[in-house]
Amino acid sequence: MPGKRTLDYAAYAVFIALILCAPLVLEEFWLNRIAKFLVYGLLGVAIALSWGYAGILNLGQGLFFGLGAYMMAMSLKLASPTSLQQGSATPVPDFMLWNAEPGAKTDLCCINHGSFLWTPFQNPWFGIGMAVLAPVLVATVIGWVMFRKRISGVFVSIIMLALVLLVRLVVIDAQPLTNGFNGLTDLGNLTVLGVELDPYEVVTYYVVAGTLALALIATRLLVETRAGLILQAIRDDQNRVRYLGFDVPLYQVFFFAVSAGIAGVAGLLYVVVAQFASPTFMDLSFSITMVVWAAVGGRASLLGACIGAIGINIIEAGASETQALVQAWRAVIGLIFVLVVLYLPRGVAGFASDAADAVLSRFGRKRPPAARPASERVAS
């Protein structure tokens, strides 16, 4: 199909141009909001990679998002003014003081049993590094165990679902170390390379938008490689791939870990933009919501799932703030889901792809490339 791929790349280019130009028309408040939605878009990319390309429906992607978020939040908590005025030479999070045993020394080393774990997070680079590394490592270990045992399909979904709830319980239970239910709040701004990333400054938006653009391009290139092709083959027929001589679990673990890494970066950026980390990131409902975004946008398309996440959140924000819909906005969102599932089983991206096919075959070469309908922009 000549031109289809060009359209596809054009869709990426248009999307990236749009998110990079948004600050020209949006004011601070909306910019901060859109930045959050772009972070959700990053989660959409992670879901599309594992669900659409690898065929692994991960109902616990929130685990990796939450891990990334907490790692970053630990650094930002230590950088917060609330941690610096405790009568100690080094910062100590305020909640540790509230939870401390009487007479405990006000120092990260020993205010409680696990507080020394926080010590390296005084360096923000450690927090940033761990926000990516921790999800990747955890995913590698979980993936190794699951995929070596040839666990697949719904069993992976159930295992991940159970794991995310387990970790959520542990985080809530470890109150002295994690501030339990309340999560990590009153965070400082992330300062890297002399730039302070205030959530309401344009520079923060650009960091988020730039990361999303890079992640989209890099992930797209990754699935275009031979390894990406083999991954899709594994999705379609594991056994066939095994008898062609490939180590199937190796591929599954690798892409599972990449997907986890992207979710970790999303968690990191979310904390920078929203300035809190909470156990609700590891709620079941959030992990399922991510899957719904990807389903609506089109799980077979990285860009589709990304746009699905951003689009649904914009509609949600708009509907919940429209006077007439204040009572009914959840119904509006629900209606959209139902309509997509019924009429667009491959999501918006699948619809756009079909539309592009129809247009290309009908008008063929006669149509100048400049005159494309807007719907093709999400073709992928």
Binding site: M1, A227, I230, Q232, R240, Y243, L244, G245, L250
Partner: protein
Amino acid sequence: MSAVLTVDGLGVAFAGFKAVDGVSLIIEEGELRVLLGANGAGKTTLMDLISGKTKSTQGRVHLRDTDITNWEEPAIARAGIGRKFQIPSVFRELTVRRNLEVAGCGKPGVFANLRFGLPRAARRRLDEVLDLIGLADEAQTVAGTLSHGQTQWLELGLLVMQDPKLLLLDEPTAGMTAAETLRTADIIKSLRGTHTIIVVEHDMAFVREIAQRITVMHLGQVLAEGDMASIEADPRVRAAYLGSKGIH
């Protein structure tokens, strides 16, 4: 001529039942061997044992000089054995061309494959394989929409693309029309000589078309081995499998 595959006293028991019992075979370079036998004779199980799907409980399998007994499936595949399944399995959401590209990737590791496109030699071979299996016009078709016969040919193409030392074909004409069966026979005949092949087949017209040497299995054991004429004449084969009327 040298032996590509040496099977020596191979067997497996499932809860005491010996599905394959002390089978010995020597397959020479460039040979096309047909495995014949009634349902339950152990033909598919023998292929499972050779390709690593089932672990044997007795005997050895050598591919040339390498002992591959009970290796993991991907390791056996890399050693040079390609397997086609009874129920055709291809990558249904990928196009025909992309299907063949997967088989042409060559290197097994994930990091070795973090690069774009196939090597030039593999790309050239891909076009040859497309012609061989008669799917050149369908190269951009998604495999899931192919007809049953075309799907079988595509899987055959995957194996040729993989370029193994030995091809194991489990009922390559299952479910095919007479015309498709003949076409499949042509494909397999064109591989004869350049590839070493073992075919499990029931379709006698097809066997007659392609067979050089035939091994007849019965109740997990080798009953007879020889060319078409001697198999047809063998009284034990007639009694066990073909019935008193001979091959139709």
